[in-house]
């Protein structure tokens, strides 16, 4: 911490809390939209491809509708993402001052992907009427590539915060040399990046499917709804088992790379072998209360043997332990629990499809799909809580504490309040707008919109 810091500790601590809350809130808001930016293009392109290849008008109509919804979500995502760029300087200026030269390279690369995504997304979204079918389809393919590339670059930057490397500091702590490849490909990149990209595909798959499941529960059982359920659900269900594998690998790597984070999320108090896996519960220094204990399982999951030694919080200096252990632990368990439930949902559909080439007849299946979207988003948030809160008190693991990074600027709580108000308004309006679009589509039927808003009703026959 700087000795020149003119502020009393209380003011810095207050700034730190306000800055962390605002960052968490704006990131939590944006990340749902960025999932749509990463994975919705592929979902749309699948429907578009089916529509072109098989002359399937329902699939084409779905692609058309989803791309119109994406026009709204991408716009809000672009501007809320910009806010995050501003927040680097507004909330964490000392972090950028010291390490911008090192991890900025990831954002420079992300900038290219974002540029290309914005360009081709515009061509695709607004090219429906005048571009020929396949030319239009191919104009959309770059969105799929750039979505993944952009996610890689941004998450590589976050991985670097968890596993910083590829830079040299001088005696004063200034970055004097950088190895960009080592920054980008750090030890956490290999699991954080696929974990996030798969999460994006799960969020989009289950979220879009859940909208059509709700429609089907309301009795809209036409082919369009069935297809609208099956295309995204299949994507989500393919991503889920891979995600569980990647997540499991990630957890083991975290146990190895960031033992404090792992001890926090698993509520491990004392270092040693034969660690109990606690499902749920409240973490206290006397152990975990109100949890379902499974003896030895934690050690087994970390090292495939009950004897595996796992670091506990007792081996972590007091001032380097992550805060809010119970929240971390519950967030981790919720993420794993939701992921497992989604896997079961997939097995259910696979079984039914194998037996009778149809989705399960019971309304309980549709009800499960209807909540899967919210579940996937919740799991996404929980995952980021584990990553970000679990890294505290560090902003750059082992190199810079979050309290050193925060701004001395005034008015942070005011700014946070304003952000809450504005985002609440934008979030609500976005949902209303999307619902309104959906209602208009239903009223117009599956016919492409050729009539003006005041044109006489001409029926659906062409």
């Amino acid at each position: 911490m700087s000795l020149l810091d003119p502020l009393p500790l209380a003011a810095s601590a207050s700034n730190l809390l306000a800055a962390r809350e605002q960052m968490a809130f704006t990131l939590g808001f944006h990340i749902v939209l960025s999932c749509l930016g990463v994975a919705l293009p592929a979902t749309i392109l699948v429907a578009n491809y089916l529509g072109l290849k098989r002359g399937d008008e329902d699939a084409m109509e779905l692609a058309r509708r989803w791309s119109k919804a994406m026009a709204v979500t991408f716009a809000v995502g672009a501007v809320t993402g910009t806010v995050l760029s501003f927040e680097f300087g507004l909330l964490w200026p000392n972090f950028m001052d010291r390490f911008g030269a090192a991890f900025g390279v990831a954002f420079a690369i992300e900038g290219i992907f974002f540029f290309l995504e914005a360009i081709f997304l515009a061509i695709y979204i607004y090219g429906w009427k005048r571009l020929s079918g396949w030319a239009h389809f191919w104009s959309g393919v770059p969105m799929f590539v750039t979505g993944i590339g952009g996610a890689f670059a941004v998450v590589a930057a976050n991985s670097w915060m968890n596993q910083p490397q590829g830079f040299t500091l001088d005696a004063a702590g200034k970055v004097v040399d950088v190895e960009p490849l080592k920054v980008l490909i750090n030890p956490a990149t290999g699991y954080e990046v696929p974990h996030m990209i798969l999460a994006a595909y799960m969020v989009v798959g289950f979220l879009v499917a859940s909208i059509y499941a709700v429609g089907m529960l309301k009795g809209r059982r036409d082919r369009l709804h069935r297809l609208g359920l099956l295309i995204p659900l299949t994507i989500g269900l393919i991503a889920t088992p891979i995600q569980l594998f990647v997540g499991d690998t990630a957890a083991r790597a975290v146990a190895d790379h960031q033992p404090a984070k792992f001890a926090g999320m698993e509520c491990i108090q004392e270092t040693g072998g034969h660690q109990t896996e606690y499902v749920g519960g409240i973490c206290t220094s006397d152990g975990v209360k109100a949890a379902i204990p499974i003896p030895d399982l934690d050690s087994f999951l970390v090292g495939f043997s009950a004897d595996t030694k796992v670091t506990g919080l007792d081996d972590i200096p007091t001032d380097e332990r992550p805060p809010a252990n119970t929240m971390l632990h519950l967030a981790f368990d919720a993420m794993v629990g939701i992921g497992s439930a989604l896997l079961l949902l997939g097995l259910w559909l696979a079984w039914s499809w194998w037996k009778k080439r149809d989705i399960p007849k019971t309304p309980w299946f549709l009800r499960a799909v209807a909540v899967s979207g919210a579940g996937a988003i919740l799991a996404l948030w929980c995952g980021w809580i584990v990553t970000e809160v679990g890294r505290q008190p560090w902003i750059v693991q082992g190199y810079m504490r979050t309290e050193e990074a925060v701004t001395e600027a005034g008015g942070l709580w005011f700014s946070f309040g304003l952000v809450l108000l504005v985002y609440a308004g934008i979030g609500t309006t976005a949902i209303l707008v999307l619902r309104g679009m959906s209602r208009r589509w239903r009223e117009q039927g599956a016919e492409p919109e050729t009539e003006g808003p005041y044109a006489p009703q001409t029926g659906v026959a062409s």
Partner: protein, 334 residues
């Protein structure tokens, strides 16, 4: 030219593109704001919406480009600017969010009152955002950002020069948008809208020019370093800008057809590079030089590579987007 100078040039190239294209999009919002009631303003608003819809997000990315190059290549400058000018910067960020969301919602929201609210949000924040960005630039030029950051949160930008530059940003955006919209109106065959935006481009051009002259006086008293280099090394660019601006006014007055857009762009680009020349070798006059703020060489190399890739991939893609848009192959109607 050192690596740091080259990176600073890249920063300026990004800022130039943002000023031209992002600036024109803000200007579109300005003309939307002053287009009058729902009925009277319907046709100009429709043209503005049609012109902006396919391109504004791509244009917006230049801002991200500038931010990323600034914090990667010149981290201390980024930190100093953001810890001093956080008030106008936060207000600009707020404006960016409201503007983008308002614009996207207006097209899809139901009911006239909802559309009006979304449209007003878009239009008002299209004026406030460039204003606050201008105050940031003005405060930097005036030397109000100390190298170590944490300069005064209010007196650093609530000064005649930053406020003037803020107003100049708004007027310049309106001027660019007016000129671009003249071309768009011509293309879609609406001669009355062509006249409509010709008059407005002319008015905005006169106002922007007047503000620029007032700005010179303010530079003289508040930003002596920049002023002296601007009227010395930067003089050719200042004259070029004046010539472009004056030629455009003449062409507009006579209802001439060409070359509107290149002249408007030339007038703006010359000012931006005049500013660059006038600030050199400082990023923050006169407290932080480009070489003092520079990141290590390896970082600069990545910035160059990214810029080269942008030149090879992004510029042609942008060209494709603009071409499709100008040939009306992109439909903005939902």
């Amino acid at each position: 030219m050192s690596k740091a100078d080259a990176a600073a040039a890249i920063l300026w190239v990004g800022a130039t593109f943002y000023a031209l294209f992002g600036g024109a999009d803000f200007g579109g919002g300005f003309w939307d704001l002053v287009a009058g009631g729902a009925e009277r303003g319907e046709r100009p608003r429709a043209l503005i919406q049609r012109s902006l819809t396919p391109v504004w997000e791509a244009n917006h990315v230049w801002l991200i480009f500038v931010l990323v190059v600034l914090w990667t290549a010149f981290p201390p400058a980024f930190s100093a600017i953001f810890t001093t000018l956080y008030v106008p910067i936060a207000l600009a960020a707020l404006g960016i969010v409201l503007r983008g969301s308002g614009f996207a919602f207006r097209k899809s929201i139901e009911g006239l009152s909802g559309r009006r609210a979304a449209g007003a949000t878009f239009a008002i924040s299209s004026v406030l955002t460039p204003f606050f960005m201008g105050t940031v630039v003005g405060a930097i030029a005036a030397g109000n950002v100390p190298a170590g950051g944490n300069g005064d949160a209010f007196s650093s930008w609530i000064q005649p020069l930053p406020l003037l530059i803020g107003a100049m940003f708004v007027a310049t955006g309106a001027y660019l948008a007016g000129v671009f919209l003249v071309g768009d109106a011509r293309r879609v065959g609406e001669p009355d809208l062509e006249r409509y935006f010709e008059r407005r481009a002319l008015g905005a051009g006169v106002v922007a020019g007047a503000l620029a002259i007032a700005g010179l006086f303010a530079l003289h008293s508040e930003a002596r370093y920049v002023y002296e280099r601007l009227v010395d090394q930067g003089l050719p660019l200042v004259i070029l800008s004046l010539l472009c601006g004056a030629a455009l006014l003449v062409v507009l007055r006579r209802g001439g057809r060409r070359p509107l857009r290149p002249l408007a762009a030339g007038a703006v680009v010359a000012v931006i590079w005049g500013w660059a020349v006038a600030q050199f070798p400082y990023l923050l006059p006169t407290s932080l030089r480009i070489d003092q703020a520079a990141a290590p060489d390896a970082t600069m190399t990545i910035v160059f590579i990214v810029f080269a890739v942008a030149a090879v991939l992004v510029l042609p893609s942008l060209g494709l987007l603009y071409t499709l848009s100008q040939r009306d192959l992109l439909e903005s109607e939902h």
